[in-house]
Structure formats: C-alpha cells, structure tokens
Amino acid sequence: MEKGSDSRMVNPKLAEVLARETGISADSLYSSTTLESLGIDSLEFLSLMHAIRDAIKEIPESRFAYLNTVGDIERELA
C-alpha cells in the first residue's frame, strides 16, 4: 500500500468501510493511500461510494474526480 509522506491513520469509520469494501486491512490504510493502489475498478469504486454514503455521508458525483487518495475522501466527509 502506498504510504507516501502522510502516514496519519484514516478516520476509523471510513477505514472500516474501506477495509470491508476492498478487503485490505484497516491497519494498512493511510490518508496518503491512493485509490489506484487499492486496485479497485470503476464498479468497485461506485460500490465504495455507495457504502460510504450508507455508513457516513454521501459524496456528490460531481466531486468524484477530485478523489485520488483516502485523504481526499476524508476531506470530502469532514
């Protein structure tokens, strides 16, 4: 998993959803983790967005283009 310079842990609720949807351990997820490195395709990306909507809050489709990292998702949910 790409750790990058920002190794803060993601918020626990988001980490739980990401782990459930991607099969990647929550402990391996960081704000700097790229969505590309999660290996998700477009359908899986949409499933992830739906799961985040159901568990936390909806991210509008018009913001999808700005989601490159887990940290970007965190900022949208803040």
Partner: protein, 151 residues
C-alpha cells in the same frame, strides 16, 4: 494524481496522439479493412465551430484518458436544447484502477451540464461492454446499433 480537464482539439490531439492507435487496436472492429485515420483537420473545424466537448484525464500532465462528444441541437428535436453525441472515450490500460472511468464520465456529465447540454448519448462495444457501469451512473439503455462491412 489524476486530474480532469476540458480541452480544445489542438492541445488534446497533440498530447493524446499516442493513445489513439492503442485505442483503435483494442476496440475497433474490421481493422483489416478499415484502418485508423483520425481526421484532425475536420475535428479542428468542429472545435472552431464550438461543436466539440473534450474531457481529458491527465496524470502528471500526461493524457491517460479522454471523452470526446459532438455537441449540437438534435436534428429531430431542434428546439429541445443542446445534446451531446459521444464520439469516443478511452482510458489507457494500466490506468483504469481507482475509479478512473467513473471519474471521467461524471466529469464529462458535469461539464456537459455546465455547458447547457440537456441530453447525452453514448454507446459501448459488445466485446467490451460497459452497460453495467453506465446503468449504475444513471444512463438508460435505449438503442442497439449494428454495423456491416459493405465493400
């Protein structure tokens, strides 16, 4: 980091050129009879007339994907407003993870709306079928198209 941009034909053609052959080889039918021959001059005319809508996906400045549509009033519904007729879309193999396809289409949709487009059309290849994705993005299956080599 992948970023999405509305672009003009000239810059798009200059920077996306390496992808066109890749796109054609992966998706075009009847390649033995119908070679790739993108008519850049005609695309430029369409662009000059304000009829093109191009959205690119760029990674570190390099074009890794694109969506191109022709935007004009429908010939059958001239008073219904602008409509977008998708000409082509592609994402470079190896860059298709992370929801790049979803982002390209949602960005295309957002920018087409911003431009005043009221309805958009697109198709998918039978041999690389994206029906499920498009339906999840709210598109409705409305037509089936056919082709036949005649000469």
């Amino acid at each position: 980091m992948t970023t999405f941009h509305v672009e003009k034909w000239a810059t798009f053609h200059r920077d996306a050129h390496p992808l066109f052959d890749m796109h054609w080889k992966e998706l075009a039918l009847d390649q033995a009879k119908i070679p790739l021959g993108l008519d850049s001059a005609r695309f430029q005319v369409l662009c000059d007339q304000g009829l093109l809508h191009i959205v690119t996906a760029r990674k570190a400045g390099v074009v890794i994907g694109y969506f191109v549509a022709i935007v004009m009033p429908h010939l059958h519904y001239k008073d219904a407003g602008l409509m977008a007729f998708t000409d082509m879309y592609f994402i470079r193999p190896g860059c298709r993870k992370g929801g790049c396809g979803v982002k390209l289409f949602t960005e295309a949709e957002r920018t087409l709306r911003e431009r005043g487009v009221v309805k958009a059309y697109l198709s998918t290849k039978v041999h690389q079928d994206h029906t499920q994705l498009f339906e999840k993005l709210g598109w409705r299956l409305s037509d089936k198209s056919f082709c036949k080599v005649l000469a």
